[in-house]
């Protein structure tokens, strides 16, 4: 990405002229606001930024950004982004998706995008519900969830986006929460700055069809005990009084209280750069209410990127074989001449 000296942009410069059509109070607004705040800090011109989404409430996101954008079809945004990025490696390409878009119909594309590790930023708005189609359960809805399509409660064991991303050995995997705007902004920025596929799950409240799905993580009283902020190299400490921590017992995490013979050094220390993703996987398995749920960067390692590698092959081919010459190609191998 070529970074030139640019006029200084503001959040407002990134707002398009379209009326925003989310329900009042929807968590999507907060994510949009943070995105508009973060983009001007990246030093990337607006015209080099592209947002590609699937279908869903969340997927209307590109319309609200004064960048290039595509509101595509349900579940396939990673495909469009892949073709765009391969052919235009200097663009900054964002994929916006929802829990239905990205993990139900689009799960396979997401998985393959993550493993190919193109330099994309994928933000999954996880409201644990189908918003746009008015409230069916989604692959991230908890067991027993009663919705229009599961009147006796959902019986599908939920998928956990980060566990899947780590199952694909994703190189950058993070989580944030719509209401935690500072943290969210940081995560978006980290995602943008990471080279390779950055996968960020954002806990997002759908106040119409799944209100309060994350109240434990956003309510003032509960959030300090129910979430834990991951910081590279730091021990896993949480709680209103920062007196609780996570310790490893063999391969199983456990909540311990600090003091009473337990010191910080006994705790699990976060290492987002660990080449081995097992720690990140283990963290992705910490779930409310048994555990505080981690937010932050689970994993950030440098892996080869498909787009780089492909373009490197193009360069190597050109170096070795010279820039292709069609006339030469056409006449290569066995040919014969017919004269008049």
């Amino acid at each position: 990405m070529s970074i030139e000296s640019l006029p200084i942009l503001t959040s407002a410069d990134f707002a398009s002229d379209q009326d925003i059509r989310w329900c009042p109070g929807c968590g999507d607004y907060s994510i949009l606001a943070q995105m508009k705040k973060v983009l001007p800090t990246l030093g990337i011109p607006r015209e080099k930024t592209v947002f590609i989404s699937g279908i869903g409430c969340s997927s209307r996101f590109p319309y609200y950004m004064n960048t290039y954008g595509m509101h595509s079809i349900h579940g396939r945004a990673p495909g469009f982004a892949t073709g765009l990025k391969i052919t235009n490696p200097d663009l900054s390409v964002w994929v916006i998706t929802g829990d239905g878009d990205g993990l139900s119909i689009g799960g396979n594309h997401l998985m393959h995008a993550i493993r190919r590790n193109l330099d994309l930023n994928i933000i999954l708005f996880n409201n644990r519900i189908y918003g746009l189609t008015k409230g069916q359960y989604s692959p991230t809805s908890p067991l027993g969830k009663i919705t229009k399509s599961s009147p006796m409660g959902s019986i599908d064991n939920p998928l956990h986006p980060l566990s899947i991303a780590i199952g694909c050995e994703g190189a950058f995997v993070a989580r944030s929460i719509d209401m935690n705007i500072k943290h969210l902004g940081q995560m978006l920025k980290r995602a943008a700055e990471h080279r390779g596929t950055s996968f960020v799950e954002v806990y997002q409240n759908c106040n119409v069809f799944n209100d309060g799905a994350y109240s434990w993580a956003t309510d003032r009283e509960s959030k300090a005990d129910a979430t834990i902020i991951l910081e590279h190299g730091k021990p896993l400490i949480f709680g209103k009084d920062r007196n609780k921590g996570i310790r490893l017992n063999g391969m199983e995490p456990e909540v311990v209280e600090l003091g009473k013979g337990v010191t910080e050094d006994d705790l699990l220390f976060h290492d987002e750069k660990s080449p081995e993703p097992s720690l990140a996987y283990l963290l992705s398995r910490m779930r409310h209410p048994e555990f505080p749920e981690p937010i932050g960067v689970f994993r950030a390692v440098d892996h080869p990127r498909y787009d780089d590698e492909l373009n490197r092959q193009v360069e190597i081919a050109r170096e070795k074989q010279g820039q292709g010459d069609l006339n030469k190609l056409f006449h290569s191998g066995e040919t014969w001449s017919v004269s008049s």
Partner: protein, 620 residues
């Protein structure tokens, strides 16, 4: 047939000059028939003959050895005259085993040359082919010119002192068969000897074994008394130029590369492997030094969506597949159409429905191409009619796509894809340039993503261009601005506009031409891979005095502007298709013309005689 006492081939035996011949090599899938066929083809092409080929192999990678299901065949028609088909009836058949004999004999002409590898006619071979008695002994082959050759024994003998194991030695048998055919048709072994060097250079003993077997086969022809004479075929009177052999898939690949060059674009292919389209992916993935980027996607949907993304980004983007894969692309094709982005969707058709007959040819995806997606969603369709024609079709499809800012479907089929014919090599500088303009930052003040030019095309503004930021998507869009718009009248207007844009292409493509009389009793109207059979059948019938002409459609949506008028000049219209009447359906609906159909879905191309017979029946 004329006779020369001294063959040009330097044979001591008598040499007859003939116009051409149709020969089929048939054997087990593991017998290397496809390789032998390709060599025979190249050799004949380099001898200056016109050629047409028809490879035919089983769906299995290696069907059980010696079984009927495992037979693989390669048919070559070569001639000193212009030819258009691989031939109906075989002048010569090589059967490497009993199964190959059983499945291919019906196509051999009476008294045709029948070369069999007698070594393979043992008890096991016969029983695998479900022969109760050895047909070489029952007299049932008396109507043919039967040449029994101990091919396995002779091959083993030829390589004996090389110390190869028997399996490797036996794999050379196809070269023995080739050598024999080369002698029979006065072909030079040079091309194949060069090929052996290039292909097996790294394994000198294998190379040597193949060389020896090839020559042993040739010498066997010269010495065996079973073959009293050989044939000579003059070079064909092709348009002057330099030629090479091309299969349809290769010609498509090269055509796309040429189109990219002519339009100043780099080529992007997003594809998922499927028979018989995969070879386009294989071919294009070789050319990274041309800036060709191939992406093997996780499925057909990812393939086409990557292509739409690349098209949004300004690349020349194409996706290749076959019927079942195209079915999966329907939803995204609808998006491409409403986004009004230029890109190509290639369908190398195969036998359907469903998984169908993956390695067999058919033309049954035309209506899918027209209608295989939701809503009012017109997409132009062009088709290729022969292996070499694929090259031009590729370029023409891209020209339409960018001029009209639209996805374009390109139809090929398994027969064209794998068949080969001589291709006259163009000079890349002689190919017409394809002009593309992208709006720039200077246009920012007046830019609207859904404004229109004289072709009703919208501007192709690509991400990265300052000042032209815009959003596109699959919801109905407001005229000019491209904003999401639910207005009723706008939806009608945009639907009409999109239809009109595609219909207007009729003014931008050549009028349909006709081979034969300007008017008359019958018009044979064809499309796609039936070109050769239609041409030959119509010419043959005309030679017999019938009033019949042939028009072959490249453009299937929209049709050429003069098509109605043209059809009106003939008393009858006959539409031969390798489907149950799909073009006929379109013609009837569009023009209310009561065209007759000649339809077949047998996984094989038309025989010339099938079409000729139908013409005669209609005119009787």
């Amino acid at each position: 047939m004329s006779t020369t006492t001294e063959g040009t081939s330097g044979s001591a035996k008598q040499v007859f000059t003939i116009e051409g011949a149709t020969v089929r090599l048939a054997g087990d899938s593991g017998d290397g028939m496809q390789l032998a066929g390709m060599q025979f083809t190249n050799t004949s092409a380099l001898a200056g003959n016109d050629i047409a080929t028809f490879p035919d192999y089983p769906a299995e990678i290696r069907a059980p050895r010696g079984t009927l299901a495992g037979v693989s065949g390669f048919q070559l028609h070569f001639s000193s005259d212009d030819i258009f088909t691989p031939g109906d009836k075989l002048n010569a058949l090589v059967a490497m085993n009993p199964a190959a004999l059983k499945t291919n004999l019906a196509d051999l002409e009476p008294n045709g040359i029948l070369i069999v590898n007698v070594d393979a006619f043992d008890k096991k071979g016969l029983s695998l082919a479900h022969y109760e008695k050895n047909p070489l002994e029952t007299g049932e082959l008396d109507g043919y010119n039967l040449i029994k050759v101990n091919m396995t024994t002779l091959t083993r003998g030829a390589v004996k002192d090389l110390g190869l194991n028997v399996r490797v030695a036996d794999r050379c048998r196809n070269f023995f068969a080739m050598g024999l055919l080369y002698w029979l048709y006065g072909r030079s072994t040079d091309v194949t000897l060069r090929f052996i060097d290039a292909k097996f250079g790294a394994k000198p003993d294998v190379a040597e074994a193949n060389r020896r077997t090839l020559l042993a086969g040739r010498n066997y022809g010269e010495t065996t008394e079973a073959l009293p004479s050989s044939y000579h075929i003059d070079p064909a009177k092709l348009t002057p130029g330099t030629y090479r052999n091309m299969t349809g898939n290769q010609a498509l690949a090269w055509g796309f590369m040429a189109a990219a060059e002519c339009s100043g674009k780099e080529l992007f292919l997003g594809s998922y492997p499927i028979t018989p389209a995969s070879d386009i992916l294989h071919e294009l993935s070789k050319f990274k030094n041309f800036g060709v980027r191939t992406f093997q996607a996780e499925d057909e949907i990812a393939a086409i969506t990557s292509v739409i993304g690349a098209a949004f980004g300004g690349a020349m983007a194409i996706t290749t597949s076959s019927g079942p894969g195209i079915a999966l692309k329907g939803e995204a094709m609808g998006l491409a159409m409403i986004l009004e982005l230029p890109l190509l969707i290639i369908n190398v058709q195969r036998g359907g429905p469903s998984t169908g007959l993956p390695t067999k040819t058919e033309q049954s995806d035309l209506l899918q191409a027209m209608f295989g997606r939701n809503g009012e969603c017109p997409i132009p369709i062009v088709s290729a009619c022969s292996p070499a024609d694929c090259f031009d079709t590729a370029i023409e499809a891209w020209r339409i796509a960018v001029r009209f800012m639209t996805p374009v479907v390109v139809l090929s089929d398994g027969y064209i894809a794998n068949g080969a014919e001589p291709w006259r090599i163009p000079d890349i500088d002689d190919l017409p340039k394809i002009k593309i303009t992208h709006p720039t930052g200077d246009d920012a003040d007046t830019f609207h993503p859904y404004s229109r030019d004289e072709h009703l095309a919208r501007p192709w503004a690509i991400p990265g261009t300052p000042g032209l930021m815009h959003r596109i998507g699959g919801l109905e869009k407001q005229d000019i601005t491209g904003d999401v718009c639910y207005d009723p009248d706008n939806h009608q207007h945009m639907t009409d506009l999109r239809a009109k844009k595609v219909a207007n292409i009729a003014d931008d493509i050549p009028l349909q031409d006709v081979n034969g009389p300007e008017k008359g009793d019958l018009l044979v109207l064809g499309w796609g891979g039936t070109f050769g059979a239609c041409t030959t059948a119509v010419e043959r019938c005309r030679a017999e005095g019938l009033s019949v002409a042939h028009a072959h459609l490249r453009y299937l949506n929209p049709f050429p502007a003069n098509l109605a008028e043209l059809m009106g000049r003939y008393k009858k219209v006959l539409i031969p298709e390798l489907n149950m009447g799909q073009l006929r359906f379109l013609i009837r609906a569009t023009f209310l013309v009561d065209a007759a159909g000649l339809n077949k879905v047998k996984g094989k191309p038309f025989a010339v005689s099938e079409i000729a017979d139908e013409i005669k029946r209609l005119l009787a």
